[in-house]
């Protein structure tokens, strides 16, 4: 017998089992643990492989264009000049619209599901909202293109233009012909897609607020809304910001829904009604014309690498913020 003791089963990883288990069992255990570890490590390998493939796939365009790739808005397969500014702009603006609209809606839903709704209906309504997250993104794209875009062109965009258009500075954002498909519509569809994720996270965070804090606030005469705004939200502030970042990360990389409704135009217009392009929609749209070995394929891979780095940073920050509060 060695002097090792099994203080807890999770110590198994670090320590060898006691020697009374000599022979077959020990070998089986070692093999089993090794297999578990190999599968866990495979997750790391997958991420590493994605990064490496996208990085080296996009490298030739960086050699050809240098850092101009990130500062040029020229995307021209004929002259073989590729710049990512239009796509970066489209990606960021649609995601920001989605977050600006999605966050207040998600807060409202979280308030409704944690404080307002009668307890028996909270679960069913929460589940129904979660089902929205399960709808495939291509369905949002079709619905957005065939149903929402015509409504946007006929009613919503002219109405917005009539109300906000005459205001100086802001008016420029809402000028131009109401086409239906464009940056604004893409942002709206994205908002609807990230609301289920964000509201579910918000509900979880709000529910983790200690009851005594809320009761103390109620005890001094606060209303439900005041407790939510001045106790629950400040308590979960860090995690809530993490939840918003998670929503942002989702919106940045969404492909199919955006491809249907963004209008796919390689130019930047000040108006949010104008069609544009996001990184993901450009990859989806232009890939069929990018043959193996072409510079265009390299440009698309570099776009992919850029999107990966952006969403990796956003998601990493989100996870760090959420965990630091919930753990």
């Amino acid at each position: 017998m060695t002097d090792q003791t099994l203080s807890s089963p999770s110590d198994f990883a670090a320590s060898t089992p006691p020697s009374i288990f000599r022979g077959g069992k020990q070998a089986a255990d070692a093999t089993f643990r090794w297999a578990l570890f190999a599968c866990g490590a495979l997750v790391l390998v997958v991420l590493g492989a994605i990064l490496i493939q996208l990085f080296f796939g996009g490298l030739p365009i960086l050699v050809a264009e240098g850092l101009d790739f990130f500062t040029s808005s020229d995307w021209n397969p004929v002259t073989e000049r590729y710049g990512a500014v239009v796509m970066l702009y489209g990606t960021l603006v649609t995601a920001v619209i989605a977050v600006v609209i999605g966050v207040p809606v998600s807060f409202g839903i979280a308030f409704f599901l944690t404080e307002v709704a009668p307890i028996p209906v909270r679960r069913p309504i929460g589940t129904a909202i979660q089902l929205l997250a399960a709808v495939p993104s291509i369905i949002f794209g079709m619905w957005g293109f065939f149903v929402v875009a015509p409504l946007m062109a006929e009613w919503v965009e002219p109405a917005i233009a009539a109300v906000l258009g005459p205001i100086p500075l802001i008016g420029i954002l809402f000028s131009g012909p109401p086409l239906g498909t464009g940056i604004l519509t893409a942002g709206l569809i994205l908002a609807l897609m990230i609301v289920p994720f964000m509201s579910a996270m918000f509900v979880e965070i709000i529910e983790s607020v200690p009851g005594v804090l809320k009761e103390a606030a109620y005890g001094v005469g606060s209303t439900t809304a005041e407790v939510f705004r001045h106790v629950s939200v400040p308590y979960g502030r860090t995690a809530l910001v993490g939840g918003i970042m998670l929503g942002l990360g989702r919106a940045l990389g969404e492909t199919m829904a955006v491809t249907f409704v963004i209008g796919n135009a390689n130019r930047i217009k000040a108006s949010l009604f104008a069609p544009g392009a996001s990184i993901a929609s450009t990859i989806a749209n232009e890939f069929p014309e990018a043959g193996p070995g072409s510079l265009k394929l390299n440009a698309l891979l570099e776009l992919g690498f850029t999107l990966f780095v952006i969403s990796f940073l956003v998601l990493a920050l989100a996870r760090w913020l959420v965990k630091s509060r919930l753990d």
């Binding site: 999770s10 093999t31 997750v43 996208l54 308030f111 409704f112 709808v135 495939p136 992919g304």
Partner: protein, 279 residues
């Protein structure tokens, strides 16, 4: 108005607005489903399920796309589910406090939310180019990468729900670690693990972006895993953007089929999960 009345009014207004927002999102969900049912059901017919995709005007269906989706999803699950369950078990059993375990958990969370089109690009680079062409294998591998993090996450969560006394009892009987995991932990968490795999299937079945550059789509029947293969989301994508009314109608029929399938899977697994958590 007194301060008290003003505060009560503000409270009421916020409650009404919050209820209105929740109602709005539910109405939008109902609107999407209603659109699918109205436009999809009128295009649904028996030939949709029996005929492959054909040129416009010849009464094509989606049978090859439905079968293609089933084949690719099943193969991706066969690849990813065992690896995912093992990796999730690693996190719950061995990697609770270790640095590598923390790294795996973090990377898995990132993969869970990573843009799925990048998985398609990755598989194009890693599988399609080296092996000389678009293939159903490449599509299945891309879907496997989509499924893997979902299974890892749910397996770890489910194993953590197993009471510690169960595993301690097994260890106290002298069972080796592998026996404890296989016969006690996995068995106790079985329903939850299966639910996680079902949710992963629901997610993979509706994915379009990872298949665009991997299995490519196919207008005729194909059961050859080394050739391009049709799938429902790809067929919807191709048909929805086509100028033929007949194809657009087929796209709606496909959209109805895939959404009905995905939502049914989702509801079933959520009901199962509620049962698991209650017991």
């Amino acid at each position: 108005m007194s301060l008290f009345k003003r505060r009560m009014a503000a409270d009421l207004i916020l409650k009404v607005v919050a209820s209105g927002l929740a109602a709005m999102v539910l109405v939008l969900l109902a609107w999407i489903l209603w659109t699918l049912v109205i436009r999809g059901a009128s295009a649904l017919s028996l030939s949709v399920f029996t005929n492959p995709t054909l040129p416009p005007g010849r009464g094509g269906g989606l049978a090859n796309a439905v079968v293609g989706t089933l084949i690719q999803v099943v193969i991706s699950v066969v690849i990813a589910a065992p690896i995912g369950v093992m990796a999730g078990t690693y996190l719950a059993e061995l990697g609770t406090k270790s640095k590598i375990g923390g790294a795996v958990r973090f990377v898995n969370d990132v993969l869970l939310s990573a843009p799925s089109i990048l998985i398609g690009l990755f598989v194009y680079q890693a599988v399609v180019l080296p092996f000389g062409g678009f293939s159903a294998w490449a599509g299945s591998i891309a879907l496997a990468v989509v499924i893997l993090p979902v299974v890892v996450r749910s397996t770890e969560d489910m194993l953590r729900l197993v009471p510690g006394s169960l595993r301690e009892a097994a260890f106290a009987l002298g069972a080796p670690h592998w026996r404890v995991v296989v016969s006690v932990m996995w068995r106790a968490a079985r329903a939850g693990i299966v639910t996680g795999v079902l949710l992963a299937i629901a997610r993979a079945a509706g994915e379009t972006a990872p298949l665009l550059f991997t299995s490519l789509g196919n207008l005729s029947w194909s059961f050859d895993m080394t050739k391009p293969m049709a799938s429902l989301p790809l067929a919807i994508y191709q048909y929805a953007g086509s100028p033929y009314d007949e194809w657009v109608a087929l796209a709606w029929a496909g959209a109805l089929i895939i959404t009905a399938g995905v939502l049914t899977l989702n509801i079933v697994s959520r009901l199962m999960l509620a049962g698991v958590k209650r017991s």
